[in-house]
């Protein structure tokens, strides 16, 4: 009943119902995956820029005060939509392309159901705002989950003749699913985790966290870079222009990735 109601709402959009009717839901989800990915890349660059303020903790604290209002809190929550959708839809694609899971209509429903559960749970955590968990334990669990997931994908697809970067994109996706969704959760378990300078500094100063964060930043920037490369390749026919755009994108993402890693290692 809920599904029929939601589809009824979506059908009111002429553009959306045109593509659903002529190409199917998978087509819409592919576009949504791309748009979500682009939003996340832009946010990632903004995130690294904002966190670079940690070189001067006092300035960073005053900057955080600027973001301490309902609108930015709501936007932070809203960011969970592209994050979890991109992660779960990517999982659906990996299952379809690598694990022979062909019940795509069922998987699409699961993407929506699990995304909704995640978003609502995150919203609830943000409202409560006082949950405590051992950072070491939380990140150990997340790291183990990432390692297991990426190993499963690696073992399944690495022997195939697909190009190396294509395979790495899937393996990195497996690493990022627990890391990114876990990161968002952890940052909103309580208010201080994501906003208080001392708490943030204490967390990223821990040696174990440094290793995990460096790996996180490296993998996330690779994943973003290859994602952009494939999108450019889907649209730009001119080989020289494609190469130029690839170099430009690699440079920009490389600079931000370097800035992120440098920040983690130096604070």
């Amino acid at each position: 009943m809920i599904e029929a109601y939601l589809i009824g709402i979506l059908e009111r959009s002429e553009r959306l119902s045109y593509y659903v009717g002529s190409r199917g839901w998978g087509f819409i989800l592919t576009w949504a995956h791309r748009i979500a990915g682009l939003i996340l890349i832009l946010y990632m660059l903004f995130h690294v820029y904002t966190l670079s303020g940690l070189y001067n903790p006092e300035a960073f604290a005053s900057k955080m005060k600027f973001f301490d209002n309902f609108i930015f809190t709501f936007l932070e929550w809203g960011l969970a939509v592209p994050v979890i959708f991109h992660a779960l839809n990517g999982t659906r694609l990996i299952l379809y392309e690598g694990f022979h899971v062909r019940q795509d209509a069922v998987m699409i429903r699961w993407v929506f159901v699990l995304s909704t559960i995640y978003i609502l749970t995150l919203g609830l955590l943000m409202l409560i705002g006082n949950q405590q968990v051992s950072a070491g334990f939380f990140w150990l669990v997340v790291a183990i989950a990432s390692a297991i997931l990426s190993t499963i994908i690696y073992r399944k697809i690495w022997h195939t003749q697909n190009v190396m970067l294509w395979k790495l994109q899937r393996v990195s996706g497996g690493l990022l699913l627990p890391l990114v969704s876990g990161h968002m959760f952890f940052m909103h378990l309580n208010y201080k985790a994501g906003h208080d300078v001392d708490t943030i500094m204490a967390r990223i100063s821990a040696p174990g966290m440094k290793i995990l964060d460096v790996a996180f930043v490296s993998v996330v920037f690779f994943h973003a870079g290859f994602g952009l490369y494939t999108v450019v390749g889907d649209y730009v026919e001119h080989r020289l222009l494609r190469s130029g755009l690839t170099i430009l994108m690699s440079f920009i993402l490389g600079v931000f990735a370097y800035a992120g890693v440098k920040l983690i290692l130096s604070v």
Partner: protein, 236 residues
């Protein structure tokens, strides 16, 4: 039941002599079991003899009459008026050529151009397996055939190519499928050459698994399944 529909067809027209494109509206009455190719013929006979369109067998076997109705790529010889009214919930239809090759006139596209990608994958057995020692024909076991017989039904109507998310730098679903069919064919010995084409930059890496190809295929081939099987390394 002799129900008649008042149809409005908004047809994309193109005159190559003056290089002019426009939308022409035709209004006509049609019975429920007329097909869209019949509607075009009716327009030719009763209203406008200059409307150009393509068809050949008119039985969904040759893939010549692929067009887009309300955006959906399909065979105009297979779509009945009553099905179209039910499917699109309207009696007004936009009729456009497929987007896979330049339009030569009205609903007709340059099929030679469209076929370039199919020819590129060599849709034939490149290197046949040795003949049977007793001079018998090469036999394919039913079990082997079952794995890919569905894919052999492709008629290269290019509906999948028109529906695909990836419109550039990609061989296209039908050409990739043609390659997969020969790869799964036990009579083909040039497996590595086929693999090289399949996993090249213009091959499977360009497929985004949007499954629009399977969604529109008039022959109901699950093209996305075959391409995904190639990515899985599971073409047996």
């Amino acid at each position: 039941m002799s129900q008649e529909y008042d149809l409005t067809l908004k047809v994309s027209r193109y005159n190559p002599d003056i290089r002019r494109s426009w939308i022409q509206v035709y209004r006509l009455k049609a019975g429920r079991i007329l097909r869209f190719v019949d509607l075009f013929q009716k327009i030719n006979d009763e209203q406008d003899s200059t409307l150009a369109w393509r068809s050949s067998c008119e039985h969904g076997q040759c893939g010549t009459c692929g067009i887009r109705i309300n955006g959906k790529p399909l065979l105009s010889c297979e779509l009945l008026v009553e099905d179209a009214v039910r499917l699109f919930k309207t009696q007004t239809f936009t009729v456009e050529p497929l987007t896979v090759a330049p339009v030569t006139r009205d609903l007709v596209i340059d099929m030679e151009k469209a076929y370039e990608q199919v020819h590129f994958v060599k849709p034939y057995i490149i290197q046949p397996a040795p003949e049977h020692p007793e001079g018998d024909e090469y036999r394919i076991s039913p079990r082997e055939l079952e794995a890919y017989v569905e894919a052999t039904r492709c008629i290269n109507c290019f509906c999948c190519v028109a529906a695909c998310v990836t419109q550039k730098n990609y061989l296209g679903p039908n050409a990739v499928l043609a390659n997969i069919v020969r790869l799964m064919d036990p009579r083909e010995m040039a497996k590595q050459e086929r693999m090289d084409i399949l996993y090249s930059e213009q091959g499977t890496p360009r497929c985004r698994t949007a499954r629009a190809c399977s969604f529109v295929c008039p022959k109901e081939i699950d093209i996305a399944h075959f391409i995904a099987s190639a990515k899985e390394g599971n073409l047996k």
